[in-house]
């Protein structure tokens, strides 16, 4: 699977890339929403899933997600959040595949990726 992982913390990006890479996934990294948008647009149809942090400089995760949806991209998205429980999500429920609460485990990411693979 090819996935886009967006987080502004460099150590987290590196570990997640290595951890998921070990399971054979290709992980493209971005440090904020703007960078994520550039990465995504470089190969829009190649991504199977997007994991994005919410609070980031420049463009936050929710704005990035909105930009994706506005452009008609239906790639499944997982929002990583420190404080927003799913119940408080007021946008279109279908826009978000799942919420990942911090601190999250890489194994939890693998479970979500597996779900996507099975439903595809």
């Amino acid at each position: 699977m090819k996935l886009l992982f967006v987080d502004d913390e460099a150590p987290i990006r590196r570990i997640v890339q290595r951890g998921l890479g070990r399971s054979g996934h290709e992980v493209i990294l971005a440090a904020d929403g703007e960078e994520a948008w550039e990465q995504f647009c470089a190969a829009p149809h190649s991504f199977d899933i997007v994991f994005t942090d919410i609070r980031m400089p420049r463009l936050d995760g929710v704005s990035f997600l909105r930009r994706l949806r506005a452009a008609g991209h239906e790639v499944p998205c997982v929002l990583i959040t420190g404080h927003l429980p799913k119940e408080q999500w007021t946008e279109e429920p279908g826009d978000v595949l799942a919420f990942l609460e911090k601190p999250f485990r890489i194994t939890r990411m693998l479970e979500i990726i597996e779900q996507i693979a099975e439903s595809a």
């Binding site: 913390e9 150590p11 570990i15 951890g19 980031m56 400089p57 911090k102 485990r105 890489i106």
Partner: protein
């Protein structure tokens, strides 16, 4: 024919009644045609009755004012309380966020460690250890600051305050928040500032209020910057907090210190931050002023009386 002397008692009763708070007491004034007192005394009776009437009405008004005042004071106390709770909520959210980042780093490293050991990737293992050490340092710094905050909160007495350290500490809890918003913070702290005398929790509340206002003002803007500067003047210690936001419109300059004045949305602003901050400064014998400033952006100055060495 009634004699004047017959009605002395009545006159005295009125005076006693009024003096003892029975404001409803009235003198009987003879109706037209009824045999009564002398005309001139009758006028006095009528006058006294009017006076009693007026006194009673004034008392009713005074009681109404007092009730309104009590109500106002109760409401004000509740508002101060809700402003405090709002600040506490902000603090809790800030702490949550500050702690989550280092926890995330540690959590992922721990999960990865067995793999790294298996792979005998010593270089990565050492790097993980370093990064976890950094993360623990970050989390400890937040906790250290929280401890200061909690310690100060239970103390109401005044003490010597190192203004520079307090400005620095006030920022710790919001560093991550400011960073993700892309806000640059410039600290320009003077060396050898004399201490001030005050209530640490209150002084910290003022600094935090102003920093959060500045944060909200610059969020989403180009070159978002907050500058905090400390300096000394004869007899005074100054803290300047300046932002690169839209500034305060000239017509609003006077209003911003009024209770409930806010330019923020309802959930973000109680409209009490600057009011409470100004009250706190006044209690400390200091001032909170909005500078006339160029270039645009808001620039507030806190002025504390310096403690005599």
């Amino acid at each position: 024919m009634t004699h004047v002397a017959d009605r002395y008692d009545e006159l005295l009763s009125l005076i006693h009644a009024l003096a003892s708070g029975d404001l409803a007491f009235r003198l009987r004034v003879p109706k037209a045609g009824e045999p009564g007192v002398h005309d001139d005394l009758e006028a006095v009776f009528l006058g006294l009755n009017m006076l009693a009437e007026e006194l009673e009405a004034t008392t009713v008004r005074r009681d109404a004012y007092q009730t309104a005042l009590d109500e106002l004071q109760r409401t004000q106390a509740q508002l101060v309380q809700s402003a405090k709770l709002a600040a506490l909520g902000e603090l809790a959210a800030g702490v949550g966020h500050e702690m989550n980042q280092p926890l995330q780093v540690i959590c992922n490293h721990i999960e990865e460690l067995p793999h790294l050991v298996e792979e005998r990737d010593h270089e990565e293992i050492l790097r993980s250890a370093d990064e976890m050490q950094d993360a623990v340092g970050r989390a400890s710094e937040v906790i250290r600051q929280l401890r200061t905050f909690a310690r100060d909160a239970v103390r109401s007495e005044r003490e010597h305050i190192d203004v520079g350290a307090m400005v620095h500490d006030s920022l710790v809890l919001f560093r991550e928040d400011l960073r993700v918003r892309g806000i640059e913070v410039i600290l320009d702290l003077a060396d050898d500032l004399p201490p001030i005398h005050g209530n640490p929790i209150e002084v910290q509340q003022v600094i935090t209020n102003l920093v959060l206002n500045a944060r909200d003002a610059v969020t989403g803007r180009e070159n978002a910057t907050i500058t905090l500067r400390t300096s000394v003047e004869p007899g005074a210690v100054l803290i300047d907090i300046q932002d690169t936001g839209p500034g305060v419109l000239p017509e609003l300059r006077k209003q911003i210190f009024n209770p409930f004045f806010t330019s923020k949305s309802e959930e973000n602003g109680t409209g009490l931050g600057l009011t409470i901050s100004e009250q706190i400064m006044r209690r400390h014998g200091g001032t909170l002023t909005l500078r006339n400033n160029e270039p645009p952006g808001a620039h507030f100055t806190l002025r504390f009386p310096a403690e005599a060495p």
